[in-house]
């Protein structure tokens, strides 16, 4: 019989319980889907690494003669070490608008269990002496290729045809980026090809490795072998030596996984806590209201346990109503999320099936939260003795509050205003709840909109204000800047040419070090503009270095600090130092800047440039590509517009997430305001009805409640400003990488939008409450004894 009561009670306040359930659905949806996907990703990653023997360390170098590699095998702690040739080449694709690149990675077809072994998904093994290759599966799919198709590349200045014998995936290129300035893998323009070492020799006419990978014996740390390796390889020109943790693909996958795992824990707890708060307040109200009923039940002889059981069915129903659909939807979403990850991460076994474990964990989690909240909400009334419960509670006392002492403020209020303000302090718990709810709603929408703004700003700043060239030509090897510039300037359609030097270096400050590129920019560059934190143009320094904020933070340096510079381009052993002369914001990439001539002098190798920036008339890129496609000197021709367009396309996918967050914050704001208004209404129906009898319109009566809410809302929104900063700060910390730095700036427009979203959810909730006020039955309410 009591079940009927439960359903009728739930129906009587369906708005609040429904809102609570929706929040719970969101919580469990996020929990199941994120946990499920994170688990699957983690598992796939670990299996893949283990099965394919993923290396523990990576060395990039100039040239290591083939024979030398065997000596390194003897270094203590090294389990397996292999030399490779790794070369980026252009694909002969005359029809393509953009340049297409392949990274050729040499493999030994006879090796049984090679490091970074390729997982062959289709095709046949390679032979040492055939011009056949394996392709990475993303590139293969993106270009609609077939096995035995030929793919033409430009290697050593000549066009060469390679036959596709197989398709595979490598643990080294799960997240395949061509340069560190790229943000997303783009299989249309960049792929990996695995080529027998003998064929690489033929293609490039070289007999030396430029890349070494190794694995460590169990228990051996990377740092233990690093110095020995560096020492042994120094004569062959070590560019960089880094552990697996710094390997780009691994690093990005790991960051993504960690984010996902954190989100899977924090977000559901946050939402569940909000749902629990609403439940707590509603149940507290319900049991207070039904004091008399409880007394009667007790008088009948119902035990305490039975009555608690009865009241706990409310949270039970809500928990199940929230977690079961949440879990099911989450399982569906995890399939979809896995598909998104499959677009970016090239790994076998990437899928997410229905996970009974997380489904049930989700149910348990929501049960724990809601039953606990429910119990807390109703325990007080249940402790009463039956006779006591049958008596009405002591009437609420009224009294002056501290705000009244501020007579200037107090005298401004209408009588309704005074009522509202006194009510706030009368029910502190609920006021705090509303305050937190509105603050959260505001902060959450402010921070999401800000992120949207910032991503736009980041891209816009980098490509419209900083890198203002149209085309960038990257060279295979440094060239004398004058000859090359002259030739390029003479090309029809080229309006302006500027040389640039990108020099890979290791910057070191005490024990902190970082591998980056120093960009040498001409003093009066019109094509690469360096901006300070106020957006003013500043020239590249002639003495010393300009660092990006993130780089400076990583190295813990300030203006005036000295940095040790190591570069493979200087053979000299004596340490070189440069002073930090400025720190600038840079959101895409992470760099150090210097004036070009000064950099050339510092290196002492003459006026060399590694790339050229061009300002061109429209339609110049095509003939330019055609002319230089065969050039053995040219590594890449990039049009900025295409790069920007692609980035924006990728960023658009963030857009939907932002709307989702905004919607969630609205739901939360609505749920909190609505539930607190309905509770206030039922609690004070008598007061409100008396006001209507006095002749106040429903609107005037409602104004007491709305005044209360707006009074809190203004304060809460003000408090939401630092909170949104905090949220953005932690988000920025989580998202920022060497590729991408997110500034912690909340734009004014985001505040405005956050205000609108919050105000809208408050408004909608009040509208719903207003309907209840008009339905207040004066006759019945006033008849009842207080």
């Amino acid at each position: 019989m009591l079940w009927r009561k439960v359903f009728r009670d739930l129906k009587g306040n369906k708005g609040t319980y429904l809102a609570c359930m929706v929040i719970m659905i969101i919580a469990i949806l996020i929990f199941t889907s994120f946990s499920n996907v994170a688990d699957n990703l983690r598992m796939s990653q670990q299996n893949f690494y283990q099965n394919q023997n993923f290396a523990d360390g990576f060395i990039e170098m100039e040239a290591l003669p083939f024979g030398e590699i065997n000596k390194l095998q003897k270094i203590q702690g090294i389990k397996q070490i292999e030399g490779r040739m790794v070369k980026d080449v252009q694909v002969w694709a005359p029809d393509s608008e953009e340049s297409v690149y392949l990274r050729l990675v040499s493999i030994d077809p006879l090796e049984d269990n090679p490091l970074n072994g390729v997982f062959l998904t289709q095709g046949i093994p390679l032979k040492r002496d055939e011009m056949k290759i394996w392709l990475d599966s993303k590139f293969f799919e993106a270009h609609n290729l077939q096995l035995n198709d030929e793919i033409e590349i430009i290697a050593g200045g000549k066009k060469r045809a390679l036959t596709i014998a197989g398709v595979g995936q490598s643990p080294e290129f799960i997240y395949a980026l061509r340069t560190s300035a790229d943000v997303y893998p783009d299989p249309m323009t960049f792929g990996i090809a695995f080529v027998p070492l003998e064929i690489m020799e033929k293609l490039f006419g070289e007999r030396a490795f430029n890349n070494v990978i190794f694995s460590l014996k169990p228990g051996v740390k990377f740092d233990f072998v690093k110095d020995t390796l560096e020492w042994e390889l120094k004569p062959y020109g070590v560019k960089s030596i880094f552990p697996r943790a710094d390997q780009v693909s691994h690093l990005l996958l790991e960051t993504e996984l960690e984010n996902l795992e954190t989100m899977a824990q924090i977000m559901p707890v946050m939402f569940l806590a909000i749902a629990a708060m609403i439940l707590y307040i509603s149940l507290k109200r319900l049991t207070e209201q039904q004091r008399g009923q409880i007394g009667i039940l007790k008088a009948f002889g119902y035990t305490r346990r039975e009555i608690i059981g009865h009241y706990l069915t409310y949270p039970l129903i809500i928990a199940l109503g929230g977690s079961i659909p949440g879990g099911l939807l989450g399982s569906m979403l995890s399939g979809y999320l896995a598909q998104i990850y499959q677009v970016f991460f090239n790994m076998p076994d990437l899928s997410a099936k229905f996970s009974p474990r997380y489904f049930f964990l989700g149910i348990i989690l929501s049960l724990v939260f809601s039953l606990w909240a429910g119990y807390q909400g109703c325990k007080n009334v249940l402790r009463l003795e039956p006779a006591q419960a049958l008596r009405p509670p002591a009437p609420p006392g009224g009294g002056p509050i501290w705000l009244e002492k501020i007579s200037f403020f107090w005298n401004m209020l209408t009588v309704q205003g005074m009522m509202a303000v006194r009510n706030l302090s009368r029910n502190k718990g609920r006021s705090i709840f509303i305050f937190l709810g509105i603050m959260f709603c505001f902060a959450m929408s402010g921070f999401t909109w800000s992120m949207n703004d910032l991503i736009q700003t980041m891209l816009y700043d980098q490509y419209e204000k900083v890198e203002v060239y149209d085309i960038k030509l990257s060279l295979m090897l440094p060239l004398d800047q004058k000859d090359a510039a002259r030739e390029l300037a003479a090309f029809p359609g080229v309006l302006d040419v500027e040389p640039m030097a990108e020099i890979p270096v290791t910057l070191q400050k005490n024990w902190l070090e970082k591998d980056v590129s120093i960009l040498g920019i001409p003093e009066n560059s019109q094509l690469y503009i360096i901006l300070d934190n106020k957006g003013r143009k500043i020239p590249p320094p002639k003495e010393g270095l300009l660092l990006s904020e993130r780089l400076a933070a990583l190295l813990e340096v300030d203006i005036g600090s000295k940095l040790r510079i190591d570069t493979p381009l200087i053979d000299d052993w004596s340490p070189k130092e440069l002073e930090v002369t400025g720190i600038i914001p840079q959101y895409v990439g992470m760099g150090a800047y210097m004036e070009l001539n000064a950099l050339q002098q510092f290196l002492g190798q003459g006026p060399l440039a590694t790339s050229f920036m061009l300002k061109t008339a429209q339609g110049t890129i095509k003939p330019l590509q055609e002319k230089y496609r065969h050039s053995p000197f040219l590594a890449a021709i990039e049009a900025k517009d295409q790069k920007l367009g692609k980035m924006q396309e990728m960023m658009a996918s963030y857009g939907s997430t932002i709307y989702l967050f905004a919607l969630i914050s609205m739901i939360i704001g609505f749920a909190i305001i609505y539930s607190s208004s309905t509770i206030t209404l039922s609690e004070r129906s008598r007061e409100l009805a008396s006001m209507m009898v006095l002749g106040m319109t429903p609107r005037e009566v409602l104004s007491v409640i709305t005044f209360e809410q707006w009074f809190l809302a203004w304060g809460a929104m003000a408090a939401g400003i630092p909170m949104s900063k905090l949220m953005l700060g932690s988000m920025s910390q989580a998202l920022s990488s060497d590729v991408f730095t997110m500034p912690v700036i909340i734009t004014p427009s985001s505040y405005l939008l956050a205000f609108l979203v919050t105000a809208a959810s408050i408004g909608i909730a009040q509208l719903a409450a207003a309907r209840k006020v008009t339905k207040l039955s004066l006759v019945e309410v006033l008849k009842a004894r207080e």
Binding site: P395, P396, G397, G398, G399, P400, T414, V415, Q416, M418, M419, R422, N423, R426, R686, E687, A689, S690, M691, M692, V693, L694, G695, M696, T697, P698, E700, T774, L778, V779, L782, K783, R785, E786
Partner: protein, 230 residues
């Protein structure tokens, strides 16, 4: 005010209850009417309809030629606002407003309110103006409630068992106040009660039974409240 054949039926689940049957009467300025009857006789229903808190199921009701039986909720709100004052058995003061502020709440919406101070003086509570309801006795609360009803300067004052929760001495005080308002300001006061003794102070007495006005009795010589005993 004129009522013609007012009927009110309530649907309580399957059962229909006729709370008021064919009530016809007139009310005049400056008169004090007492409505007598046992519980369930329709007293409160009648009062609610007169006060614009409820509408009749059928029949006609005119206030100074304005039809109230066809008025919508907005018109009724303004009728309550400008022309009616209510006093309840259980005071219904706002617990978190002081005595003064409770009265000020009504002033805020009134068209030509009386002076709050004057009224407080009249109900003898000028020194308790800054007290909250929980700091006042029942009689004091009721007097504040009356002051709140009067301050709007309404034409009709409706009192639902105004002395029902009070002791004898306090009741007499309250009745004195009501009578004074009636005669001094030339207003209509209607008091609902099942205490027959109170009827002695009225100009006219309505007797209700089973939803019908069974008798309207004229009292040419009402006695002053202080002479009433029970």
């Amino acid at each position: 005010m004129r009522a013609e054949e007012l009927c009110k039926t309530y649907k309580m689940g399957e059962v229909t209850v006729e709370a008021l049957k064919n009530a016809s009467f007139e009310l005049y300025e400056g008169e004090l009417v007492v409505v007598l009857g046992p519980s369930g006789s329709g007293k409160s229903t009648l009062l609610n309809i007169i006060g614009g808190m409820d509408t009749a199921t059928s029949g006609r009701l005119y206030y100074r030629d304005t039809p109230l039986h066809t008025a919508d909720s907005k018109q009724l709100t303004f009728y309550r606002r400008n022309d009616v004052g209510f006093v309840f058995q259980f005071y219904n003061l706002m617990p978190n407003l002081t005595a003064y502020e409770n009265i000020a709440l009504a002033v805020q919406i009134a068209q030509n309110p009386l002076s709050i101070e004057e009224l407080l003086e009249k109900v003898g509570l000028a020194d308790r103006a800054q007290h909250f309801p929980s700091q006042l006795s029942g009689g004091e609360q009721q007097r504040i409630a009356i002051a709140r009803a009067l301050v709007k300067n309404p034409q009709i004052l409706l009192c639902d068992e105004p002395t029902g929760a009070l002791d004898f001495a306090t009741s007499i005080q309250v009745l004195k106040l009501l009578k004074e308002f009636c005669t001094a300001y030339n207003k209509t006061v209607i008091i609902i009660t099942h205490n027959t003794a109170i009827a002695q102070i009225a100009h006219r007495v309505f007797h209700l039974k089973d939803g019908r006005i069974v008798k309207i009795e004229n009292n040419p010589h009402p006695i002053p409240p202080e002479k009433v005993t029970w």
